[in-house]
Amino acid sequence: MNVLSEWAFIGVFFVLAPVLPALPIAIGGILSPRKPNAIKQATYECGVETVGDTWVQFKVQYYIYGLVFLIFDVEMVFLFPWALAYGQLDFFAFGAGLLFIFLLTDALIYTWRKDALEWA
């Protein structure tokens, strides 16, 4: 079970990592004065009263970036084992990887020509 004892370190790290930054925040919470009043807690709009609640009509652009990132992220899932085992593979593996990457670059070229990646 060597895999598990390796990850025990990571498990303890995941437990301790939030504690270390939370410590100063907690100390700050104790030491600092606590006098909340309505004006202080109003949302900060450069001094102007807030208008309407917190949603704003969003552009689809954010979704397009998230989508392209998702597709390239999943491409990463396949490319990491391919790159890892690349030493012991032959030219056929390079061809398979080339085709895999070529198809996804083709999708990127499509989005480029359709100007989907523009910010405006």
Binding site: Y63, L70, V74, V77, F78
Partner: protein, 102 residues
Amino acid sequence: MVPLWMFLTAAAGLFAIGAYGVLSRRNAVAILMSVELMLNAVNINLVAFWRFQTPMDMSGQAFAAFVFVVAAAEAAVGLAIIISVYRGRRSVTVDDVDLLRW
């Protein structure tokens, strides 16, 4: 070592909760989230059987990787459809989207 049936019951529970979410929620995005849960339950089962039955060969991990691809593609296209439905109908609750053409 945690026995196999514990993993299977947990995955079955996750699958049932996901099914309940799909069947009962009104908001399309919430339904898609529950579908993601069901896909995760399938993934747990795949990896659990791979670990207990045949840890030597690669079938389990490869299958789980392909489930990732399908889940990602499904989430991407599903959310795109929901966004364009929202643009057309200004609401995402599933009951309003009843006409075949809008």
